[in-house]
């Protein structure tokens, strides 16, 4: 009961702390999805069927990755600098409650953009998506992995380095990650790297459950996400409980 009470109070705390810029963050993140869905056809007027499905399902994946690996580490890094985490650590609340409560708020920021991105994509390209029932756990898994890894980046690195790294991640994710294209378009060495990193798995899980008739759902991708999610969560939890 105590754990639940502190979780509820911490969700309230974190949501109120973010309330001034939360709508803006949700709007920008939603625009990510819309920008991809509406902008790609301007760049490439003739798209084949596979590309259309890749763009429509890749947009929500990019949106989740951009919040988890870019917006979140920057915000958490800033909170670390202003002493927010230290203050929370001085209160008699379980570290786990704090971390889970903050992740809850971040998931709430991510999800509307994903839903809207999928709907607009389906409308723009006239797709009849036969969504798999696995889509809910899949999207939650992608969002959670993304936020956990983002949290770990912010926990481990100094703020300025976090900002620089996340800028590099933006370029890497948008230009060189197989989210809106298939991995075989990449050079071999980059394809090999992506087999280990979580971003490709995020794309595979998202499109495999949003459009199961078009793409397979490799179980290995779930496994990759589970490993990265556990790693991100573990590193963050260890950083939060460590006494200097």
């Amino acid at each position: 009961m105590q754990l639940l009470r502190s979780y509820r109070l911490l969700v309230t705390w974190q949501a109120l702390r973010k309330k001034n810029y939360l709508p803006l963050m949700m709007a920008v993140q939603t625009l990510f999805s819309l920008g991809i869905v509406l902008g790609y056809p301007l760049l490439f007027p003739t798209l084949d069927r596979t590309s259309i499905y890749l763009i429509a399902t890749g947009a929500p994946a990019i949106s989740m990755v951009s919040v988890g690996l870019v917006a979140l580490p920057q915000t958490v890094g800033e909170q670390k600098t202003e002493g927010s985490l230290a203050y929370m650590r001085s209160l008699p609340v379980p570290r786990l409650s704090y971390l889970v409560a903050d992740l809850t708020v971040w998931l709430a920021i991510v999800i509307p953009g994903v839903v809207l991105g999928v709907l607009v994509g389906a409308w723009r390209f006239g797709l009849d998506l036969q969504v798999s029932p696995l889509v809910v756990p899949a999207v939650l898994m992608v969002a959670l992995t993304s936020t956990c890894v983002g949290y770990a980046i912010a926990s481990l690195l100094p703020y300025m380095l976090t900002v620089i790294i996340t800028q590099a991640i933006v370029v890497f994710v948008f230009m060189f990650s197989p989210l809106t294209f298939l991995p075989d378009k990449l050079p071999g060495w980059l394809e090999a790297i992506h087999r280990v990193l979580p971003v490709q798995a995020m794309g595979e899980v998202t499109r495999g459950t949003l459009a199961p008739n078009e793409f397979g759902l490799p179980l290995g991708a779930f496994l990759t996400l589970a490993v990265w999610c556990s790693l991100g969560f573990g590193v963050t939890y260890a950083a939060m409980t460590r006494r200097g």
Binding site: R5, T12, W13, G83, S90, L91, P92
Partner: protein
Amino acid sequence: MPETGSNGRQAAGKRGGRKNKGSEMLLEIENLTKVYRTGTRANDGIDLAVGEGEVFGLLGHNGAGKTTLVNQVVGLLRPTAGSIRIDGRDMVAAPGLARRLCSFQAQAQVPIDGLTPRQAIDLVGQLRGASNADVRRRRERLVDALDLGEWLDVDAARLSGGVKRLVAFAMAAVTPGRLVMLDEPTNDVDPVRRRLLWRQVRTLADLGAAVLLVTHNVIEAERSVDRLAILDEGRVIAEGTPAALKARVGAALRLELVLDPGTPEPPASPFALSAVQVGNRLMVGVPMDRAGEAVTWAEWLKTAGSVEEFTLGPATLEDVYVALVGEMGAEPAETEEAFDATAA
């Protein structure tokens, strides 16, 4: 603790019942040493104890090791050596328990932008385990006592530093632990509300909490603490009541001279027990039986033009502080005006 009390005892130790060192203490720190990875020895074998109902001051320059000490008590830092006990229980081994037993106002400004003072105080009070009704009642009293009513529902992003500081105090005091640690609570607070805050600090102790007050504001500490320790370069260099520490230095009176800016060297004083110059102010410790001689000397200097003005008054804790820390070769203490400027 007090009325809100899930974390502590009911109001017990009134001021008259305060314990002195030697009797059972709530907080007991022995040989506390903290060496950072950089090699900095921030705390070096510190011993101190604070009893329930007592306001204990921890004085020292910036960098003396005060904040390091309180961060170890609340479990944010792990000591390199030594022990920290609250009510006889080992806090180094149980940092979670330490956070339940201590409420803490950190030196840094509390990060509550986005929240209103009402929300921040209530949420922290509830997170510390008190019921909603208890928190509401206690918050209303604190807000009245600190005169915070007009800002109660204003987003903290729009509050001044001083008001935020008072809100941070209320957050620490709304569901107080048996030990309340306040790290520079009056920084940025206006003089009127600073008095209100000191009154609430005393109220916390009167309700039975042990209060550990970290400050570099010697003048205010003298009026507010029951006992104090002076920290310098990580070590306790003096400990006792303000009166006992003043007696230790010996000078009953303080002659303060404002030197003419053109005066190259401070004039030699024939009867000085101690002399410390800070800027153009020279503070001279004077024995009671030589007060007349001191005034004659100061008037002569004023006539000669090397002194603009002078005052003779009872020695203060600041004199003790300057004498002790100054003699240890550290930088001279900030002046009273400098303290006030910092806190204003």
